[in-house]
């Protein structure tokens, strides 16, 4: 095993433990920006420790689905995390590095969490799950177009090849890359459940999108689900940095730059959360459609040969 492979592999495995730092950092920055003292970036770990000591619940009338969902959701996010490479020489971990497989695994997590809402029959969980899946419909179209934009220069959906295709400065002459960047920014906000799509701070029932089905869980089940949310943050931020932000092609320096980008992006997300209000529910699909159109324009610009 070569040195870059080893380093990239260690970063990816360390991300399993470090993922909760990402939402922790965002919360910390946000508190500072809003003039509060706030918590430290380690707060998610304290939450997880507290949840780990508590008992899980078994709501009346639920089936085996309720028991399986948090574990399966965390396992799916673990697979997704291992699929997402931070550098071009990421070891395969037996799950490959395909972009569309990643989308499928994330869809699996979304699907089973929605099924858990049906299992408990809780109205708030179902309302949130329905919204989450509704956003995901046009979200899937947008993700497909954005991944196509990232795959255009290299002709492959191998995330490591796409990572290399986006490295360096020559790619920035293509308008397609800029269109992809715009699309990816929206995907980051949708997948992480951050403002202006969703507000992760409130548990106000009528506005929830991602939090709803989590309300019925407690103890370690909830810990699994919260780790999954943190892992989702890490995955989409690494994708944004690796596929659409400037980084060098070096197999050792590249992953380091990606990690730095993730830290910088926590500040960006905190800034957006501070200055943007949450969008109205029905505006989100419209926004997704418009951004998808931008992505399509990017594809057309590439096909007619602009900037390459």
């Amino acid at each position: 095993m070569s040195a870059p492979e080893l380093v990239t592999g260690i970063i990816m495995l360390a991300a399993i433990a470090a993922a909760p730092l990402v939402p922790g950092l965002i919360q910390q920055h946000k508190a500072r920006l809003q003039g509060r003292v706030g918590t430290t970036a380690l707060q998610p770990y304290r939450d997880l420790r507290r949840l780990w000591r508590k008992a899980v619940v078994q709501p009346a009338g639920t089936s085996v689905v309720y028991v399986l969902v948090p574990a399966m959701c965390a396992a799916a996010l673990l697979a997704a995390l291992l699929i997402t490479p931070v550098g071009p020489s990421a070891p395969p971990f037996g799950v490959g590095h395909d972009a569309l497989v990643l989308v499928g695994v994330l869809a699996l997590a979304r699907c089973i969490v929605a099924l858990s809402a049906w299992d408990t029959g809780s109205g708030f969980g179902l309302m949130s799950a329905a919204r989450d899946l509704t956003f995901a419909v046009l979200g899937e179209a947008l993700i497909a177009l954005v991944l196509l934009l990232a795959a255009l220069p290299v002709g492959s959906t191998d995330l490591r090849a796409m990572w290399l295709g986006a490295a360096g400065s020559h790619i920035w002459t293509a308008p397609a890359h800029w269109c992809g960047l715009v699309g990816m920014l929206l995907i980051v906000m949708m997948e992480t459940g951050r403002q202006p799509i969703d507000n992760p701070d409130t548990h106000l029932e009528l506005t929830m999108v991602h939090e709803g089905p989590l309300l019925e869980y407690a103890g370690r089940d909830l810990a699994y689900l919260q780790w999954s949310v943190a892992a989702r943050h890490w995955i989409v931020l690494v994708l944004l940095a690796g596929l659409f932000l400037p980084h060098p092609a070096g197999a050792l320096i590249g992953p380091a730059v990606v990690v730095v980008w993730v830290v910088v992006l926590t500040v960006v997300l905190a800034l957006i959360e501070t200055f943007r209000a949450k969008l109205r529910l029905l505006v989100v699909p419209q926004l997704t459609a418009v951004v998808s159109l931008i992505g399509f324009v990017g594809v057309v610009s590439w096909v007619i040969g602009l900037g390459r």
Binding site: S63, G96, G123, A130, L138, D158, D221, L281, F296
Partner: protein, 645 residues
């Protein structure tokens, strides 16, 4: 040898179809059909796995001929794999229903017609089996359920498939006349003939496959059939219709023009989107499943279109992958949809309910059927590691590579990629809703509350199909390798391992994914700890009232509001007043079918008006008719004089 096995299989199938006439018990007849079908499927599998083609080759003359090549072999496998569990299921489902013997006989004859369509090697035999394939299930449905609304549905089915079926006759007969079936090239005849044959084939085969806008018969006919026939119609028959389209586009029209590829892409995308948005708003279980068949046929068609576009863009590797992807989705959808329709039949039998909103909690009450139905639902929702995900992944990858490869079709391909991705998202909503409403939560009606597990043959049929969903999902590479060799001139860059490794992708190592997913789930469930606190559902402190339970309409309401342009919900609110006090408020909502209100109703009106005009010619008096004849005679004489002179 292989030909002999196939012939014995077909003979047993025919014997099984005729057996009810001789008052042989239904179960024995079904067994005979099943064994025959298994033999035919085995012969097909051997040819698919690389054996040389058996029987005669295609010929343009009128001498009958039958044969099996790799494509026919694949479709025989599809028919056998989907229909065998269906026959097992029928052994538990049919006894005790009205006219069971006739239905069993017609089921066997229908299967025979399906086998005949894919094995025929001459134009007459093909068209003969093609028409039988249309008529036999209609007859079986009418015999099993002679209600007025069933007759109406069957009439629409026959009307649309026969009117559009003219396209099949035109396409096949023109090609036979030009000797294309015998090996001549159609493209030598100029682009006008190619265009005519292509469009005729698309209309004819597309109508039978349920492609939008000729799909309206499908969601009406498939639900009224007995469940084992619904499974065969949705799982197998509409795929056999695609067989004709595949033969024409990839064998006889080669190289197919790029506009054909683009047309298939667009028609496929519209069908996929139209089908799934119809499925989203259905309340009846089987009708929802029928709409989802339209979606899947659309996805398969888009894959075929991508293959043509990729061929034309000079990417033969991905052209053969796209073709194999479309075939794999054909097989996968046959398995999942047969499983879902059979589950629907079991659920209807056990609960007496056919509305999705009246089910609920069936996973606990019907553990075998419920679990199998859940697997099929997850498979068709397209989540890994089940079979639906594999083929949808391959088709999305093909569309993406068609977008990458440049050329004329790249822009269309990328648009279709986005549409198919959105379709997959919609399918997730649709089937999460179905699974949640039917299998999970609390029962929503007395029927669902009293449901018990069905008889053993019915359980075996459904579970076998669910197991196949798992197997095809976990080792797709084994199936994909022979499929990539089917296309003439197809690439040999076949995937080797159990997973799928293709150039230009990051690979789909399903085994690795399964290890992480299942292993992770098992470990984490064990680490969850034994301490569980029984509690009521929290629901933010609200009391769990059955009247407040969520319905399917509630679950899709955000989606319907977001897509107001396509899904137009109609609401009515009625208030009963008595002395100024509101006594009762009734709220109904329904989603009308846009194709009915915008396309078919105006067409129907125009047709009726024309018929009204034509009726004026029919005065009923003899002198008028004599005048018509004399007039016609004069006109003919004048024409003959002008032309002849």
């Amino acid at each position: 040898m292989i030909g002999l096995v196939a012939l014995i299989g077909v003979a047993m199938l025919a014997a099984g179809a005729l057996a009810p006439c001789a008052r042989i018990p239904v179960a024995a007849a079904l067994w005979c059909q099943g064994i025959g079908l298994a033999l035919a499927g085995a012969a097909g599998a051997v040819v698919l796995a690389g054996h040389a083609a058996v029987g005669s080759a295609f010929r343009s003359g009128i001498h009958p001929g039958v044969g099996i090549d790799a494509l026919t072999g694949f479709f025989l496998v599809v028919i056998a794999v989907a229909a065998l569990p269906v026959l097992v299921y029928a052994a538990g489902y049919l006894p005790g229903t009205p006219r069971e013997g006739a239905v069993v006989g017609l089921t066997g004859a229908f299967l025979l017609a399906l086998v005949g369509v894919v094995c025929a090697r001459d134009a007459v035999g093909f068209l003969c089996c093609w028409e039988l394939m249309t008529i036999l299930p209609a007859t079986a449905v009418l015999i099993a359920r002679p209600d007025a609304h069933v007759r109406r549905a069957i009439f629409e089915y026959l009307a649309i498939t026969h009117l559009a079926g003219v396209g099949v006759w035109i396409a096949v007969l023109v090609m036979a006349e030009r000797g294309v079936l015998g090996g001549a090239s159609l493209t030598a005849d100029g682009s006008l003939v190619v265009a005519g044959v292509g469009i005729a084939a698309l209309v004819g085969f597309g109508a039978k496959a349920g492609l939008v806008p000729l799909h309206v018969w499908l969601p009406r006919t498939h639900p009224v059939a007995p469940s084992h026939l619904s499974a065969l119609m949705s799982g197998v028959m509409i795929k056999v219709a695609l067989y004709g389209l595949i033969r024409i586009c990839f064998w006889w029209m080669t190289p197919a023009p790029v506009w054909m590829g683009i047309t298939l892409l667009v028609v496929g995308a519209i069908s996929a989107l139209g089908g799934i948005s119809g499925a989203l708003v259905q309340r009846e279980l089987k009708r929802l499943l029928a709409y989802s068949s339209i979606e899947n046929v659309g996805i398969i068609t888009a894959g075929l279109g991508a293959s043509i576009v990729l061929t034309r863009a000079g990417n033969p590797t991905w052209a053969s992958i796209a073709f194999a992807a479309a075939l794999l989705h054909t097989l996968n959808h046959a398995v999942m949809k047969a499983g879902l329709f059979l589950s629907a039949g079991s659920i209807e039998r056990a609960t007496g309910e056919h509305l999705v909103d009246h089910l609920g909690g069936l996973l606990k009450r019907m553990p075998w059927t419920g679990a199998a139905c859940g697997v099929a639902i997850l498979a068709i929702a397209g989540v890994p590691p089940l079979n639906g995900f594999v083929s949808e992944w391959l088709i999305l990858e093909s569309l993406l590579h068609a977008g990458v490869s440049g050329g004329t079709g790249a822009v269309v391909s990328s648009l279709v990629l986005a549409v198919v991705a959105a379709t997959v998202g919609l399918a997730l909503v649709c089937f999460v809703k179905l699974g949640g409403l039917a299998l999970l939560g609390q029962p929503r009606s007395d029927g669902a509350r009293g449901a018990t597990e069905v008889d053993r043959p019915m359980r075996i049929g459904v579970v076998a199909l669910a197991v196949m969903c798992l197997v095809l999902g976990v080792v797709p590479g084994v199936v994909l390798a022979p499929l990539m060799r089917i296309l003439p001139g197809g690439s040999e860059g076949a995937p080797h391992a159990l997973g799928i490794w293709l150039p230009g992708t990051g690979g789909l190592p399903v085994i690795g994914l399964v290890v992480v997913l299942v292993g992770g789930t098992v470990l984490l469930v064990r680490a969850r700890g034994p301490r569980t606190a029984p509690a009521p559902v929290w629901n933010c402190g609200q009391v769990d009232e059955p009247a407040l339970a969520w319905t399917g309409a509630g679950f899709t309401s955000a989606l319907r509001l977001s897509f107001r342009g396509i899904v137009r919900t109609e609401r009515t609110l009625e208030r009963d007043h008595d002395a100024g006090i509101v006594q009762e408020v009734r709220y109904t909502q329904a989603v009308p079918n846009l194709f009915d209100t915008r396309v078919y109703h105006p067409l129907q009106r125009v047709a009726l008006e024309l018929a009204h005009l034509a009726r004026r010619l029919q005065s009923g008096s003899l002198p008028t008719y004599v005048a018509y004849l004399v007039g016609l005679l004069i006109v003919l004489l004048v024409v003959a004089r002008l032309v002849g002179g």
